[in-house]
Symmetry: C2
Subunit: 249 residues, 2 copies
DNA sequence: TATGACAATTTTGTCTGAGTAATTATCCTG
DNA sequence: CAGGATAATTACTCAGACAAAATTGTCATA
């Protein structure tokens, strides 16, 4: 063969509705492999030059993928030493991509509990802040979102859109960009992974009344009640969330 | 001139204790420019081909820098349209690098308040969790850290190390990797930017007694008290934090 | 023998030139 | 006027070469 690089199944695993370029695909595949525990913390990443087998791609694409992984703290590369997997304590665990990769491959219940624990803390506090800072426009948007959730149910895209709009509007009412950034990233990851549920599972409870209670507390400007209602909503959502499953392959 | 690219001051601004490669330097410079508001949301990033002036670097280094920025949500690039600055709502605001870039250039008091608001929420909750889950080893480490903080004071590196060790140990006691990841990233950014304070400012209050009160609540296994003591500690730290200043140039 | 300087080796970093693919805008045709 | 083929632009990918940095091994000297 003329060259280094051989051949690996990149491309097949490329999602259909594709926005990813080749480097993005490689970053994703390697990211899933790393977060799933296929590598140990000091391991060398598939060498850039020749190495064992694997990698039917040019150095350009590979290096850009490594840059992405390094930007998220998953790997670190130094001349002569190689590109090594960093310990999980250095990973940007809350990076949206890292979250997505983690829950695409790892049905680790303990980790999921930790994530919901954080959601509980932050989103409940966000509800309290929203109760103090919301405007009439926020309330109107939230009411409309709940209406859509109720009329379409979460089984439909329109209903799920209402659910997301409700939470997004509540977050925006906090006016805190960091809370917004944190929570939207987490929600996106959770939503995509929990979208494949509702199979062989007990019927989840109707989420609308819970949302209404949060809404009323926020509308009343009652931060304490908003916080506790949101907290129960999160906990109930967790109970209805299955352990993420491998969805492909 | 034979070619695209010209010349810009990269390299001069390269930090002394350097781990950054060229692409890292470019990503940092561009990241600071973006977070500081030098670009507007739809603006094209300095084009990869020729463009106006700037950029005495190869496409390789430039592209890898763009990959880093894109990985953190600051830009998005598509064929034919170019690499455009994303709206701030898409940025990974809590990414450690983005935080560092933000506070290296932007003395925005409102944003700093938002960050401390989040810290207050999360770290106070973390203290409550730590009160319930801490082991004896955690308590020993925290006590030692406070001792070092007290004997060396925050004016010395050893004292600041004690401060950081205290908070790190408390976080580890939560056992929640997401809370650890979030908070360590935020703390790192805040620490580096607030290290240049203590100039023309009122003498900050002695932080040791506040830390002791948090420690005692955690040692007693009292989550409610631990939470409120940590909350006051954060608020006091905020009062002693100056608006970040431009530190170079 | 121990120690220091030096050289070889290995891996990432950087540069360049060429060609491909995707997306937008334009133009032609119905 | 509408819709589809076409063109133009930009990022994407590949490949080859060389530079820089850090580890390792070697050798000479005290």
């Amino acid at each position: 063969m003329g060259h280094m690089t051989t051949h690996v199944s990149f491309g097949r695993s490329r999602p259909a509705n594709n926005v990813l370029r080749l480097h993005g695909t490689i970053a994703r595949d390697l990211g899933i492999a790393i977060t799933s525990g296929s590598y140990q913390p000091g391991d060398l990443l598939v060498g850039e030059v020749a190495s064992s087998e694997k990698l039917e791609v040019s150095r350009t694409a590979y290096r850009e993928a490594v840059r992405i992984l390094a930007a998220k703290g998953l790997v670190e590369s130094k001349p002569k030493v190689g590109t090594k997997i960093s310990p999980r304590s250095k990973w940007n665990l809350l990076d949206p991509d890292v979250l997505a990769w983690t829950f695409e491959s790892e049905p680790d219940l303990e980790l999921l509990e930790s994530l919901f624990e954080l959601r509980d803390i932050v989103e409940a506090a966000a509800a309290a802040m929203a109760a103090k800072r919301r405007t009439k426009a926020h309330l109107d948007a939230m009411r409309d979102a709940i209406d859509r959730m109720a009329s379409h149910t979460l089984a439909t895209p329109a209903g799920r859109q209402g659910d997301q709009d409700f939470h997004r509007t509540l977050l925006e009412a906090t006016g805190n960009p960091y809370i917004i950034s944190l929570t939207t990233g987490v929600q996106a990851a959770v939503n995509t992974t929990t979208m494949f549920k509702q199979r062989d599972r007990p019927l989840p409870r109707d989420p609308v009344p819970d949302h209404v209670r949060v809404f009323e507390a926020v509308a009343d400007g009652d931060p304490v009640r908003a916080q506790s209602e949101m907290s129960t909503l999160i906990r109930l959502a967790f109970k209805d969330t299955p352990v993420p499953q491998r969805t492909k392959r």
